[in-house]
Amino acid sequence: MLVLITGGSGSGKSEFAEKTAADFGGDMLYIATMKPQDAECVKRIERHRKMREGKGFRTVECYGSLSDVMQTADTVLLECVSNLTANLMFSPNGAYDTVSEIMRGMAHLLDRCGNLVVVTNEISSDGIEYDDGTEQYMKNIGAVNCKIAKMADAVYEVVYKTAVRLK
């Protein structure tokens, strides 16, 4: 099973994603993509780590290509597409075609687990025109979201802790 979970910032996506993964159960692997670059990131990472505590996830950090993740698991929780995209686009040895790279990584993960839960973000509804780099970032996330949603068995949008099933 492949499940995609989207929503605005602070909407409760992570909590719902953890619950979804836990419902699949078995041996669970959490793929963390946020680089601990500064105090704010460290704080966010810590909050998420606390939330996962005692829920039975193993954690693996992935700041580059998903294809580098060699672990296998019954259930994998990948959080999140926006960090993953940023890591690939803005790192010095970043992937040339970010969207294809992420989709290759998705196939790689699907080969390694029974259930994959992917968290993404809604970031493109504020009407602001950004610089080219940011627009490309938004475009890549939009394309990845559409591609994963197409493959997914279920897609949810979380709105203030309420999960709305879209597919």
Binding site: L4, T6, G8, T120, E122, I123, S124, S125, D126, G127, I128, M138, K139, I141, G142, A143, N145, C146, I148, A149, K150, V155, E157, L166, K167
Partner: protein, 123 residues
């Protein structure tokens, strides 16, 4: 008329072509004669901006368009989920897009909100 909206790059155009049997979507900057006969038009939010920059009345323009082309599918970006813009024109534009979208949603046969390429019929 059908109104389709969603975040930028959320797959609205592809959705309309795939699900609504549309072969070509007119750009917002196409000639009015083209829009009058188009199956669908994209970027309503930019059309509104263009009319405002030209000193026109965007609501009157859109009303005329749906009177001339009552079966048109109108696609727009959702632009209202952000901080109030600092710039006065941007505030007026955002407000106009919101009000015109409300008008279209009220008039439309169907209203579809697209997220991750999936259309959710909300009316």
């Amino acid at each position: 008329m059908i109104f389709v909206f969603g975040g930028r790059y959320s797959g609205k155009g592809e959705y309309v072509m795939r699900e609504m049997n549309v072969s070509e979507i007119a750009g917002y900057d196409a000639e009015y004669d083209r829009l009058k006969t188009a199956q669908a038009v994209r970027d309503l939010h930019l059309l509104i901006k263009k009319i405002m920059l030209d000193g026109g009345d965007p609501m009157a323009h859109i009303q005329r368009l749906i009177a001339d082309n009552p079966d048109i599918i109108i696609i727009s970006d959702e632009i209202g989920y952000g901080v109030v813009p600092v710039n006065k024109f941007d505030r007026e534009w955002r407000e106009a897009v919101g009000r015109i979208s409300c008008y279209l949603a009220e008039k439309a046969e169907n209203v579809i909100r697209v997220v991750c390429g999936i259309g959710n019929k909300i009316k």
